[in-house]
Structure formats: structure tokens, C-alpha cells
């Protein structure tokens, strides 16, 4: 078990040993986002911006014109709401090569409470042109995804996380942006999950198997661009879809999949997530 933020910090360190083309920007939450260990290892590549997220986003855009890739590490509530207009107008619209890495997602945040539980960030970022939205399911996938994110030109919103997660993704499989990962095959329904809900979806499928309900499980770690082909194939094969996310059921993974199914292959859909309420 390892927290996604620790995995993020450690992956940054490993990558920094191999490549000198990125820097990390922090808004005085390095301990929270896992970048504190990167700061210790590579102090010259760590830029403290203070508790001033709006300035940090636009500074990142400017930095990106000087031959570095800025990674803005931030809590998701601030990345997706407080400074969202800067992310849109300073980064997405001009299409600068800036990566935003957000921790503190959904109720996974725990007892810090609803002010810090971002339950809207997927909905917000996926509605902005030019942003790609990625949410790895475990430390293995996060470590595989980060270099792909850095190699790809343009704005990316990468979700990390806060709580410990088991590692279960295949170490030998490369991360492919925009490709869903089929983790288990069934015949009766498909659970499409994202982030911390993927390992829970696998557990749910095991429980359901005891009741002779056989479920496919898909890890939809890229929410945008959405792997429509994989969704349609699953809908056709199993005839029913369940989505699972630590996010409001409005506008997030469930919303994205509902849009896809409504347009291409309408089948019964159940969205599991936060039911349009603030949590605690």
C-alpha cells in the first residue's frame, strides 16, 4: 500500500534523475501533494509560489516559454475552482505545455472536510478545450503515466490522490493515453471505474461473482480523450454499464460515459458516486 501522493513525489524524483526538462511549482502544500520529497532531492527544480494559486497558474504558462515543462502541484479544489480561469485562459487557450497535478480528490481526502474534497474537478477540466484529463488507478499506473504526460505536448490535468492504495495494475503494461484498460471480463454488466474506485470495482466484481453475476471491469484512467470504442464494445457485449467514481455523479466519469452511450449505444446505466451533495 502506498499513497498516490507519495507515488507522485517518488516518480518525480526518479524522472528528474533521467531528464532535466521539468520543474515543479508548489503553492505551500508540498507535504500535501507529495512534492516535499522532490523539493529535498531537487531544490533547484522546485519553485515555491506561495498560497497564490492564480498567480502560480499564469506563472507556469510564462515559464513554459523558456524551455521547461512546469508541473503545477496543487490541491484539486484550488486547481479546479480557485484558479480555474487562469488554467483556462493562461494555459488551455494558448495551449502552453503545462501539466497540472492535483491531489485531494473527493471523499478520499478524509476528515479535512468538504472544503478540501474536490467532487467537481473532472467535470470542470473535461469541459475545457485542449486539456487532457488523466486519473491513474494505483501507484504503478501513476508512475507509468507521468513520463507519458511529460512527453506529450500541451496541457494535461493529472489526478493523483491522498490515501494509500494497493498496487494491482500490470507492471509490464505501458500507459497509453486515451486507452481504457480491461481488467476483468464478464458477461452480465461492465463496471467502468476511475481513480480510487478501480480497486473497489474489482472487489465488487468478486463479490458479485459469488452471486453468479459476472462483471467486466474497466479502468478508465483517461477521462479525456474518452475511449468511446471501449465503452461501446463493453455496452454491446454486457448490455449494462455501472460507473464508479469518487466525484459528483453529475459531469464526471458517469456523465462522460452517459454522453457516449446516449450518442452511440444506449444501454441501462447506473452511476455510482457522490449524489450531488457535499460530503463530510
Amino acid at each position: 500500500m502506498m499513497t498516490m501522493r507519495d507515488a507522485f513525489g517518488q516518480t518525480l524524483i526518479e524522472l528528474a534523475k533521467e531528464r532535466d526538462d521539468f520543474v515543479v511549482l508548489d503553492g505551500d502544500v508540498a507535504g500535501g501533494t507529495g512534492t516535499h520529497i522532490f523539493r529535498e532531492a531537487f531544490p533547484d527544480r522546485f519553485i515555491q509560489c506561495g498560497i497564490a494559486e492564480q498567480n502560480m497558474m499564469s506563472v507556469a504558462a510564462g515559464l513554459s516559454t523558456t524551455g521547461v515543462i512546469p508541473i503545477v502541484a496543487c490541491y484539486a479544489v484550488f486547481a479546479s475552482m480557485r484558479a480555474i480561469e487562469q488554467a483556462r485562459n493562461s494555459i488551455a487557450y494558448p495551449a502552453f505545455n503545462v501539466k497540472i497535478a492535483a491531489s485531494h480528490l473527493g471523499v478520499d481526502v478524509g476528515p479535512d472536510g468538504a472544503t478540501h474534497q474536490a467532487i467537481e474537478d473532472i467535470a470542470i477540466y473535461r469541459a475545457i478545450p485542449n486539456f487532457k484529463v488523466i486519473s491513474p488507478a494505483d501507484p504503478v499506473e501513476l508512475a507509468k503515466a507521468l513520463p507519458v504526460v511529460l512527453d506529450m505536448k500541451g496541457p494535461v490535468y493529472l489526478r493523483t490522490g491522498r490515501s494509500p492504495l494497493p498496487s494491482f495494475m500490470d507492471e509490464s503494461q505501458d500507459f497509453k493515453m486515451g486507452k481504457a484498460v480491461l481488467l476483468r471480463e464478464g458477461r452480465d454488466a461492465t463496471i467502468i471505474a476511475v481513480g480510487v474506485m478501480v480497486h473497489r470495482a474489482l472487489k465488487a466484481a468478486e463479490i458479485l461473482e459469488k452471486e453468479n453475476i459476472l462483471c467486466s471491469v474497466i479502468n478508465m484512467s483517461t477521462i479525456k480523450p474518452l475511449d468511446s470504442a471501449a465503452i461501446i464494445e463493453a455496452a454491446k457485449k454486457t448490455g449494462a454499464i455501472v460507473t464508479a467514481e469518487d466525484h459528483n455523479i453529475i459531469g464526471g466519469l458517469g456523465g462522460a460515459i452517459a454522453e457516449c452511450l446516449a450518442g452511440h449505444c444506449p444501454v441501462p446505466l447506473e452511476r455510482v458516486g457522490i449524489r450531488d451533495t457535499f460530503a463530510e
Binding site: A52, S58, G62, S64, T65, T66, E85, S90
Partner: protein, 279 residues
């Protein structure tokens, strides 16, 4: 500064004003007031100060000019056309679908535009990022950000003021086009800004106050900024909103977005020297 230079600057300023009015009238909308107040500042920067032209536009070491008050893009477009980034024919398609010149600057559509400014405060922070990047990589270029006075209402500006001083960004100059009017009214009637110079100094910047229509004062302030080490510079440039077109001067109506019609259009054409312009 020799008088020959002043003469050259004045001539270019006149040309930029003419283009601002013609673009404004071609489009039928836009922001003439804050474009006209910035003319001398932009004239000086583009003809004397900044190392930026179509020849080095993709060079990582080019000087950066960031029009943080993006609504004043008429003056930027006029200067970029003069520099040869595009033809003045493009002026006719300003604010039109498919045109190269958008209602606010768009770096992907318009050659020479560094940043998609217009949402106030962001261009300033973007410029700080450029300056910090230059320091980190030991690139020698300088960064210039032109700010509006109304823009100083934005909290992001003061976040950036702290950031710029903290990182000792002496390779950056911010210039405030202090024309005293913002979108609706005088700054003092919106949320008062003064004492501005004291605020800039208290935030750790080297602050200067000049007449923003006087080329000698603009030049002297920019020269002095180059000699200041360890802190960023900011120039509070007193200007007149709508400068050069009599009925637009000090009238917040001409902030925008609109263009003169009828007698006012004729008057504006006459005063900026583009009589007979066909729209």
C-alpha cells in the same frame, strides 16, 4: 535623447493612432480609449527598447512584450503590423470570424502575440513566469508587461507583486498605463487605487512615476530599470485615456466596446489623419 529620435517616435505614434481608429471603425467595436493612452509607451518599446521582430519571434531569447491589458490590443496590432508581423490589410478583418486579429490577443492566431491576455491580471503573472524562466536558464532576455490601472483591482496582481519581489526579477519591467479611468468610471470612484507608488514600494519593487506621453521620460525610466539590480521595476505612467482624439479624452464611454459613428467618426478621422478611410 536626440531630437531626431523624438521626431521618429512622434511620427510612429501618429501612425499607430491612425491605425487604432481605422481598426476600431473597421470592426465597429473594440477598446479605443485604453489603446490611445498606451500609444507613446508602445511606440517607444517597439521602436527602441525591445529586441523582438519577425526575425527572432521563435527565438527563446527574444525579449517578451506582454500586453496584460489585453483589451487594448488595437495598439498592439498596430505596432506588430509596423514591425512587419502581418499586413495592415488584416486590420479590415479585426473582430471578424476567420480573421487573424481577435477581439483580445490570441497567440495561436496572431504572429507576434505572446499571450492570450484580456482576463486581467493574468498577463502580468505570465510575464513574471517568463522572467523567472530567463533567470533559471540564464537567458539574457528582458520582459515587459503593460498593465492597465483598472487591472490593479485584481487580486492576482498583488499575488504577482509578492512573487516578483521574492524572486528578485530585475529582468522584468511592469508599466502601468495610468489613465485614471477603468471600464465604468474613474478608478477613484470604483475601488480607489492610491497611494500606488507607496504600494509598489511596500511590495519591494523599484517604482518610478512618469508622464506616459513623454518619450524622454519613458526612455529614461526604462534605462534606469536596466540598472536596478535585485528587484523588479514598475513604471507608473500617467496618461490620458483616449489621448489624441478630442472627444474621447477622459471620457469613460470610450473605454469600449464601441466605435465612433457619424460626426464623431469624421472628427476622429480628421484628428488622427485618416480622412476618407473607406469602411
Amino acid at each position: 535623447m536626440i531630437d531626431q529620435n523624438i521626431c521618429k517616435f512622434s511620427k510612429l505614434a501618429k501612425e499607430l493612432r491612425k491605425h487604432i481608429i481605422s481598426m476600431n471603425c473597421y470592426a465597429g467595436s473594440g477598446h479605443p480609449g485604453g489603446s490611445l493612452s498606451s500609444v507613446e509607451i508602445v511606440t517607444y518599446l517597439f521602436s527602441k527598447e525591445i529586441n523582438f521582430s519577425p526575425d527572432n519571434k521563435d527565438d527563446i531569447n527574444r525579449d517578451r512584450f506582454v500586453l496584460s491589458k489585453g483589451h487594448a490590443c488595437l495598439v498592439l496590432y498596430a505596432a506588430l503590423a509596423w514591425k512587419g508581423f502581418f499586413s495592415t490589410e488584416e486590420f479590415k478583418k479585426l473582430r471578424h470570424i476567420g480573421g487573424m486579429l481577435q477581439g483580445h490577443p490570441d497567440r495561436l492566431k496572431t504572429p507576434g502575440v505572446e499571450f492570450n491576455s484580456g482576463s486581467l491580471g493574468q498577463g502580468f503573472s505570465f510575464a513574471l513566469g517568463c522572467a523567472l524562466g530567463a533567470k533559471r536558464k540564464k537567458l539574457g532576455f528582458r520582459t515587459y508587461a503593460l498593465l492597465g490601472d483598472g487591472e490593479l483591482n485584481e487580486g492576482q496582481i498583488w499575488e504577482g507583486m509578492m512573487f516578483g519581489a521574492h524572486y528578485h526579477l530585475d529582468n522584468l519591467v511592469a508599466i502601468v498605463d495610468y489613465n485614471k479611468y477603468q471600464s465604468d468610471d474613474l478608478n477613484t470612484n470604483v475601488t480607489a487605487l492610491e497611494p500606488l507608488i507607496d504600494k509598489f514600494k511596500a511590495f519591494g519593487w523599484y517604482a518610478m512615476e512618469i508622464d506616459g506621453h513623454d518619450f524622454r521620460e519613458i526612455g529614461n525610466a526604462l534605462d534606469r530599470a536596466k540598472k536596478i539590480k535585485g528587484k523588479p521595476s514598475i513604471i507608473l505612467a500617467h496618461t490620458i485615456k483616449g489621448r489624441g482624439i478630442s472627444f474621447m479624452e477622459n471620457n469613460p464611454k470610450w473605454h469600449g466596446s464601441l466605435a465612433p459613428q457619424g460626426d464623431e467618426r469624421e472628427c476622429a478621422f480628421k484628428e488622427c489623419g485618416c480622412e476618407g478611410l473607406e469602411l
